[in-house]
């Protein structure tokens, strides 16, 4: 018999840790985006929308979309959807064919910070 008491004790403590936690706290990771990360879209999107794995705090969550010259092509500030606090959207000016970079900084509701960036292309690559 292989150490049943030790394995049981470890399992009980691990379960207690997991069950003792309050749900809803964690880092906000990017789940997916539209346009998708690294994708090419045939026509210019009206906005970049990102969905995160956790609810975001508006005051410290930002996203900027820039072209290859580094110019901001956003048509306004990034906004969190009030109906879905895990969704962040940046409205865009009319885009020309080219490569665009999305840079985001997120603060989840428990003050964990995360950040990231990705590109997408408009028009044929």
């Amino acid at each position: 018999m292989v150490a049943p008491r030790q394995i049981t004790a470890a399992a009980v403590i691990a379960a207690a840790v997991a069950l003792g936690a309050r749900a809803g706290y964690a880092h906000a990771f990017l789940d997916h985006a539209s346009p998708a990360v690294g994708s090419t879209v045939p026509s210019p999107p009206a906005a970049v929308t990102m969905w995160f794995t956790q609810q975001l705090e508006p005051a410290f969550t930002t996203a900027v979309v820039t072209d290859t010259a580094g110019d901001n092509v956003g048509a306004g500030a990034a906004k969190i959807d009030p109906r879905d606090p895990a969704e962040l959207q940046v409205p865009l000016k009319p885009l020309s064919p080219g490569t665009y970079t999305v840079t985001w900084h997120a603060l989840s509701v428990d003050t964990h910070r995360t950040q990231g960036h990705f590109t997408f292309d408009v028009g044929q690559r």
Binding site: I7, A26, F29, V37, F60, Q115
Partner: protein, 303 residues
Amino acid sequence: MHRISCRGLAAVAAVALLPGAEALAHGFAGDRFFPATILTDDPFVADEMSLPTITLNPTQSDGSRELDIGSDLSALITPNWDFTIGSDWAHIRTPALPTVTGGTGLTTGTQYQLFINAEHEAMALADLDVTWRNTGNLSAGAPDFTTLSPTFDFGKGFGDLPDSLPWLKPLALTGNIALDFPVQTKTNGMQNPNDVFYGFAVEYSIPYLQDEVKDVGLGPPFNRMIPLVEFALTSPFNRGYGGTTSGTVQPGVIWAGQYFQVGAEMIIPTNSLSGHGIGGVVQLHFYLDDLFPHSIGRPISQW
């Protein structure tokens, strides 16, 4: 207009009013998330706990086989300084001999985060571990002498590679090098050599691939997986033990969730001194900063 919750107001107030009050993230350097690796020491301080780590080691030359059940805890004292404690329980079966069970000794440590460079996804850490004498069963491998082990740990993500190499950007390397200094050079007629220990982990992050490079459409559970290979070697270099390097190569995968991660690796000995056949290890690892951000998941002091 956004409606901010009470919880949100507290978060905003904390970040706005208290320098450094934001929750410490485990294993982040810029866009890069480094998982807690099983064999290689992590290059970051954190509030975290591994429980359990179950290791079935390769068979040794005398035919013995050891199963270890371990746990370790790391707690932040300040945002850049933590304290660690860990121990294993061993179950050793040797042909024609009684089974041996017991603790393999208590290890404590203190770690300081030297730097985190977000732009280059790089970090480094200095660590002093102490393995304490007579804190386990000597027959199960617990030492009868205390050992001090100063260690240097580093991590580097490759997200700063040129855009012409997009598929290599999810790669990351972590590693450490340690020197073991036994407090007593000889106990019970046996020499206790100095060892040099070095380990590396090469990781390929699927989350990084899909969040930073290209969304290839992998869904759960694959979108949170980080395949990796770990290497570790121990080389005694004096007191008659020179040339007896042993080590393992451990390919596997870590699944990193929001609150915990699960890792599994094969254990392949590098030479006959390290055993023969294949072993394996599985680990459940908790992110205490995410599970308990307002209590044990925060530094004791913000100093």
